[in-house]
């Protein structure tokens, strides 16, 4: 989970283990699957630790920005003895093509996964063309 890497300071709550206080906040580019269907695109973005209130999806001109914030409810008691993975926020940016109908984009978050449905604008939908005998 280290595609892009920016360090940001964050304010940490009281009472956390000393090891985790005042750590600069890492930002990851979340893994994303993109599937194209006949009449829409589906984006599946893995952001474990982010719930629906922690996820922000913004579209400005053609730029789609996805952000996820991770606020652990409480740091577990005790001292961290093994760090298998780093905890941080998420951010990824995509450029949309003209095919996407911007008004009808839908976003759902479940179990740390953001699912975005981007319907294609009418003109871009795949059309079957009837083939007639000449």
């Amino acid at each position: 989970m280290n595609n892009s890497f920016e360090l940001q300071k964050s304010s940490q709550a009281e009472g956390q283990p000393a090891l985790l206080q005042q750590e600069p906040r890492t930002v990851f580019a979340p893994f994303t699957d993109i599937i194209e269907s006949n009449d829409h695109y589906t984006l599946r973005v893995d952001m474990p630790g982010a719930g629906e209130n922690d996820v922000d999806v913004t579209l400005e001109n053609d730029i789609l920005t996805i952000r996820g914030q991770v606020h652990p409810d409480s740091y577990p008691n005790g001292r961290l003895v093994h760090r298998g993975y780093e905890i941080g926020d998420y951010r990824r940016v995509f450029t949309l093509s003209a095919e996407v109908d911007r008004e009808k984009i839908e976003a759902k978050v479940k179990d740390g996964v953001l699912e975005l449905t981007l319907p294609k604008a009418e003109a871009a939908k795949a059309r079957k063309i009837a083939v007639k005998a000449a």
């Binding site: 699957d33 194209e36 269907s37 695109y41 474990p48 993975y85 996964v113």
Partner: protein, 139 residues
């Protein structure tokens, strides 16, 4: 030169500690083994893993002696006719994580929570293995 030696030593120690927590089944199967973070107190051990989108019905957590095993699956997304992958980065399928614990735990009191794609397991240390304070009396 000296600084590099110190870094190598720390690295080696780091790897040894990591080996305690790496999956022993990774070499035997092609399933994933999620990375975990581990916290210790005197009385318990807490472990967290990032497991977005898993099927909680298929999640199996078992403790035997001082070995913890987590099994589960992230279901493959179904592609309908006419669908194509444009980008594939997420991991799907079954996963197994075996963790050798540093002490025996009370299996009946193990707690697990799955929220926002993060699995958190708390394992209380077995009574007989907790450090006991020894009172020192004045002579």
């Amino acid at each position: 030169m000296l600084a590099l030696d110190v870094i190598n030593e720390i690295d080696r120690l780091h790897h040894e500690v990591n080996n305690l927590f790496s999956s022993s089944s990774a070499s035997m199967s092609t399933s994933m083994a999620p990375a975990v973070n581990v916290w210790f107190t005197e009385d318990s051990l807490t472990m967290s893993a990032e497991l977005p989108g898993i099927d909680t019905n298929k999640l199996d957590i078992s403790v035997k002696g001082n070995q913890l095993t987590i099994r589960g699956e992230r279901p493959q997304p179904e592609l309908k006719e006419g669908d194509t992958w444009l980008r594939q980065e997420c991991e799907f399928g079954p996963f197994v994580k075996n963790v050798a614990l540093p002490y025996r735990v009370q299996a009946d009191y193990v707690q697990a929570k799955y929220s926002k794609g993060i699995l958190t397991i708390t394992l209380p240390r077995a009574e007989e293995e907790r450090p006991k304070k020894i009172a020192v009396k004045a002579m």
